[in-house]
């Protein structure tokens, strides 16, 4: 019948009056964010506090926005030393390619999403500063699995 849809719409809105609101009042109430949400990049550390980063620079090469910068030097006794690992948060688009590319899981996409700052300089972050880089030989890749068997390869 002509006009029935209008009445149906009125019914829906008056029902809404008695339903609980869906508004989340953000600073006081927060929804849990999804597990795989991608926000600011953080460095990952071992349990003893040393960084997992080996200064291999794969993340730096991979980054489409050039927001990562690693300055490293060689130690006299061998191995690398990270002078600075700089992250330009303001230019990052949270694509997660650096994390995907990292062979040692030394960086991660964190759940830190309240990224507004009062000062422009706070957008440049020092992820690592003046620490010895991990040696790939000492800390092998954690998920380095044995060579795939025939069935696994078929699954893939």
């Amino acid at each position: 019948m002509w006009g029935l849809g209008v009445l149906k719409g009125f019914g829906i809105t008056i029902k809404n009056m008695f339903r609980p609101v869906i508004t989340v009042q953000y600073p006081e109430q927060r929804l849990p964010i999804p597990e795989r949400a991608r926000w600011a990049v953080h460095a990952v550390f071992n349990e003893d506090g040393t960084p997992k980063c080996t200064a291999c620079l794969i993340c730096v090469k991979e980054c489409p926005d050039h927001v990562l910068r690693v300055e490293s030097s060689t130690r006299p006794e061998g191995g690398k030393h990270i002078d600075t690992y700089v992250y330009e948060l303001g230019a990052c688009m949270m694509c997660g390619l650096c994390v995907t590319a990292c062979p040692y899981d030394a960086i991660e996409m964190s759940h830190e999403y309240e990224l507004a700052t009062r000062d422009h300089s706070d957008l440049t972050r020092m992820l690592l500063f003046d620490v010895d880089a991990a040696s790939p030989r000492r800390t092998p890749r954690e998920d380095a699995a044995p060579a795939p068997t025939g069935t696994e390869a078929a699954d893939a």
């Binding site: 209008v6 809105t13 809404n16 009056m17 609101v21 508004t23 009042q25």
Partner: protein, 334 residues
């Protein structure tokens, strides 16, 4: 009592009613629309956000009074008052109780609609004087819409006027006392249901509320004729809108729902204004409900709906009702 003091008191009561209504209705609109859409509405300023409109008024009062350089200064300055004064004048004939009205007018209903028909002039003036194409389109749309919808509005009012045999609001309200067959309240909405539907739709259009708010269609015209206004000039335009809303709801209450009278029982004198205000606010809630439920028409659909549907329906109804009443009258005197 000194006549001057009495006039002053009546005038101030009218102003107070208008301003309080404006503040309450703006808060109510935002809360009702919020909950219709599963939102909360204002809730930060004061308990339940009650002080939000007060803050808005203070903001509007203290804002800089800007005028576009290319605007027509004289028209631009006077237009908000031309919109505001008619809606202010329309409070005069409203009857809030057996003895409670600013003044008793024998042609009260006619006066209300006569002064409200001046509103489009002010709106067009505002749109033209702003010297902005969006304002001009908004003002033209508003004028076209209001002039078109005034016709079914007035025709739908004729039914209750014929039934009461008077244009005096207090006589119309008095004619609705008592019951039909002992249990149906003698409200004119029952025999005049077609007239009431036409009245409700035209009132919604006349106050420029959403399904019919093309004149301020914010997605295409920003805010239409009010576009270049700021500060208290905008405040007056906004206040007039809410005051018109109260007036059409109050007139609807008087014409179709028995005014200040409770159904079935005798209304005590002190309760009359509260009953009247309560009925009016139920009417306003219904208008807000429509506002929160329906999407906006296109401007040509809106005008076609008025000229091709509402006006023929209301004209036919006026003729049909006149015949019914005449025949019933002749049957009664025989």
């Amino acid at each position: 009592m000194n006549i001057a003091i009495e006039i002053l008191v009546r005038f101030l009561a009218m102003v107070a009613l208008l301003l309080v209504n404006g503040v309450v209705l703006i808060y109510m609109l935002r809360k009702v629309l919020g909950h219709l859409h599963l939102r909360i509405g204002p809730n930060r300023v004061g308990p339940f956000g009650l002080l939000q409109t007060t803050n808005d008024v203070i903001k509007l009062l203290t804002k800089e009074d800007l005028r576009p350089a290319a605007a027509d200064a004289w028209l631009f300055n006077i237009a908000p008052f031309l919109v505001f004064v008619p809606s202010f004048m329309a409070y005069i004939p409203l009857v809030f109780g057996p003895e409670l009205a600013v003044t008793r007018l024998d042609t009260g209903i006619l006066v209300i609609f006569a002064v409200l028909s001046l509103v489009p002039i002010g709106i067009m003036m505002a749109g033209w004087a702003s010297n902005s194409k969006w304002s001009l389109i908004g003002g033209m749309r508003a004028a076209g819409q209001q002039i078109a919808y005034e016709i079914p509005l007035l025709l739908s009012v004729l039914g209750p006027v014929m039934m009461a045999g008077s244009m005096d609001p207090s006589a119309i309200v008095a004619a609705q006392s008592g019951t039909w067959f002992g249990f149906i309240p003698r409200w004119f909405v029952l025999p005049q249901i077609i007239g009431f539907v036409v009245y409700a739709i035209s009132a919604q259009a006349e106050t420029q509320q959403t399904p019919f708010d093309m004149s301020e269609a914010e997605s295409e015209l920003i805010t239409g004729f009010a576009n270049e206004y700021g500060g208290m000039r905008f405040g007056f335009l906004y206040l007039a809108e809410f005051s018109n809303m109260f007036i059409v709801a109050a007139v609807g209450t008087m014409l179709f729902f028995g005014g200040w009278q409770l159904p079935w029982i005798e209304t005590p004198g002190w309760a009359a204004p509260f009953v009247f205000i309560l009925k009016t606010y139920i009417g306003i809630f219904t208008m807000m409900w429509a506002r929160g439920s329906l999407p906006r028409f296109r401007v040509d659909q809106m005008l076609a709906f008025c000229w091709k549907r509402l006006i023929p329906i209301s004209l036919t109804w006026v003729v049909v009702w006149a015949c019914i009443q005449r025949l019933a009258f002749e049957a009664a005197i025989r």
